[in-house]
Symmetry: C2
Subunit: 406 residues, 2 copies
């Protein structure tokens, strides 16, 4: 990573403006910063000279002079994004304009512990860099999403329910074995929400991202910013009660939506259907492989298996029931669904939607849009890249004063 | 209301800084605006000359020169605050520093319709002004809280479930019969949240206000601002399901917390206890008056009546169960309880707390503070005053440009 002169607060605002605008030009920046065109030009000229910004050809002319599109200069380095789930990991190398340059995903088990998992993640990151003929020193910053509650300051997981051996593990120190670049860690769904927010260039101020996989979590964007809550646990919806007469969850309470509707529950119900003679298809897979995955139930459902359909519908309805409470409270404009559940098939989303529209108040759902996450599997690594880039930029301003200004 | 010169954006920021600071001085403003002391002094001098600001004596000296406390000048006028509930109304006249100059509360029935209710409210406001020897023309702005969903732009209620005859009624036009001043209308709990936020001078960025009366609603403060949601219905928690096997609510769904735990449910259960021979005390009140109120059940509970205690505990536990979901999702630092339920006695709050701490995740509740609203019955009218003052100030800036600045 090349060393650059420190940024002024105005330069930071300009670079953030470039990051968060569609096709940013000098005019867009002038308007964004509430600057005269002359002042914006001078600011941009300085940032180009320092190597922070680059121009990428004329935009479609609007009659007057051509407006060059600005972007963060590729020479400032690359970002590494890591999106760790309970059973899989996505890693990516991203350009400063958040374009994914290289990406790899594979199955992983967080139960193997942080040392083994991050040894593998570091190897994957080194491979991706090598593939792009880049060195560790080209890395500007690293963003990491993890499936549990994170203390954002220290970058450590705090008592993660799905990852007992990870409590207070220093992901930063681990990555230092291979990379000098600064590391920021956040909850995986927060980063997916940040990724979608960047995709939309903050066009939607209030929306949710719901991840349904091994666990269930929710990323919250409020007033245009990712909302982490008073102690960082906002969006922890996996243990919302959907049935006071439901089964006991490992958290100690009963009827938690995660225990009744997430991946492991789908697999367990599939197994019961196979053993109970309700599904020949699932029984055959079970006898061949000795175990069933949520994806098997999804495949059976897509093939029209009635028992599998009932399981998927039940899961969608329960997640929808939880989401109805959240929608009544939060009144988002959009809900984006992501995680392993999106591979199950369309029946899940249909059941979830039906449940939400039935249980939420008309006023909350009249303009509510529920769909799959447009960034899909890339949402997490893109969000991780945005996080890293934002923090790198902010750290380039010496002792930035917070406050209002004219 | 006297006519003043338009405000510049910097002057607006300074006046908002005075409104939202504890003991605002020139130093506090300079820091708040990120201005030099010289520049802040010039700004304040101009605002004092225009009659917007006033000085109110030296602050405790911190060793150097004395720092005068600034406040909005009393001569700019007064604010009227109206907090309308389903069965009661509070009205107040407030100084520009939000001090309550005169206040009156009484029982009212929104079922009488908007015409009758606002004829009475206008009479009450005229009486309070007369009592203070003020005229209608002294009123700078009027804030009104109503117990239903509001379209903030038009200031109209939108399909309010508790107030069918109020749909799209123009409260603005109604108040114009007596007052020239501009009128802003918001949901009652949003205004209570704004009132508490002002009391705290935004020291708590993320908290909730839960009102339990005839209905149940929630005011949400997120990132330091009242959060209204994508279509203005955020905080609509009365119809969160707390029991899928519960009774049917007038909204069409089953097990809504409002139907099971709010004022009318408490009164109904009290009546059942009286008629079922479980409470001699309630039976006697019922036979004397022919009806029971939630307050009667509260009185019986405070006297140690076992049946009344069970009703209050059940209500607290159910509201707590709803709140546990909201706390898991939103992770607030504080929850303030207000509304008629606060007159029931301490058992309600104790049961609610127990239910929240049992059902919420440890991470969400470790630092969570649940208590009664410190502003109590005045929260709504103070919030209404804050809303009116903020909007009056904002409207004094001609065609204000929104945007980032250095």
């Amino acid at each position: 990573m090349s060393r650059r002169a420190p940024l002024s607060a105005a330069e930071l605002s300009a670079l953030e403006g470039v990051l968060w605008s569609h096709g940013p030009s000098r005019d867009v920046l002038a308007s964004h910063l509430n600057y005269s065109r002359t002042r914006a030009n001078a600011l941009v000229a300085g940032l180009i000279e320092q190597g922070w910004l680059d121009e990428v050809g004329p935009q479609a002319s609007s009659g007057g002079r051509r407006a060059e599109t600005l972007q963060l200069h590729r020479s400032i380095g690359v970002l590494l994004g890591v999106d760790l789930g309970a059973t899989s990991v996505e890693v990516a190398v991203l350009a400063p304009d958040l374009q994914v340059l290289a990406r790899h995903g594979e199955a992983i088990d967080v139960g193997d512990g942080p040392g083994a998992v991050f040894t593998r993640i570091r190897a994957l990151l080194r491979q991706l860099l090598a593939q792009l003929q880049l060195k560790a020193s080209d890395v500007l910053g690293i963003g990491v999403g993890v499936p549990g509650p994170v203390d954002f300051g220290s970058g450590q997981l705090v008592e993660p329910p799905l990852m007992p051996r990870w409590d207070r593990y220093s992901i930063r120190d681990d990555l230092r074995a291979d990379f000098d670049a600064p590391v920021w860690v956040d909850n995986d769904v927060n980063l997916m929400a940040l990724g979608e927010s960047w995709r939309l260039r903050r066009a939607l101020p209030n929306f949710l991202v719901i991840k349904v996989g091994t666990g269930i979590g929710c990323g919250v964007v409020c007033h245009g910013e990712v909302y982490r809550g008073a102690t960082g646990s906002a969006g922890d919806v996996g243990h919302l009660c959907v049935d006071p007469a439901g089964p006991r969850c490992r958290c100690g309470n009963v009827g938690c939506v995660e225990a009744m509707a997430a991946g492991p529950a789908i697999a367990r119900l599939g197994q019961e259907a196979a053993l109970g003679g309700q599904s020949d298809w699932l029984a055959q897979v079970l006898s061949e492989r000795g175990t069933l995955t949520p994806e098997d139930v999804g495949t059976a459902s897509r093939l029209g298996d009635a028992a599998a359909n009932a399981i998927v519908q039940r899961s969608g309805a329960l997640v929808g029931q939880m989401l109805a409470s959240v929608v009544n409270f939060f009144n988002p404009s959009h809900v984006f669904i992501c995680g392993g559940i999106t591979r199950i098939g369309p029946l899940f989303l249909a059941s979830l939607r039906q449940s939400v529209y039935q249980r939420s108040l008309a006023l909350s759902t009249r303009h509510l849009d529920i769909g799959l996450s447009p960034l899909g599997e890339q949402a997490g690594v893109i969000g991780a890249g945005v996080l890293a880039l934002q923090e790198v930029l902010r750290q380039s301003v010496p002792s930035r004063r917070e406050g209002m200004a004219t």
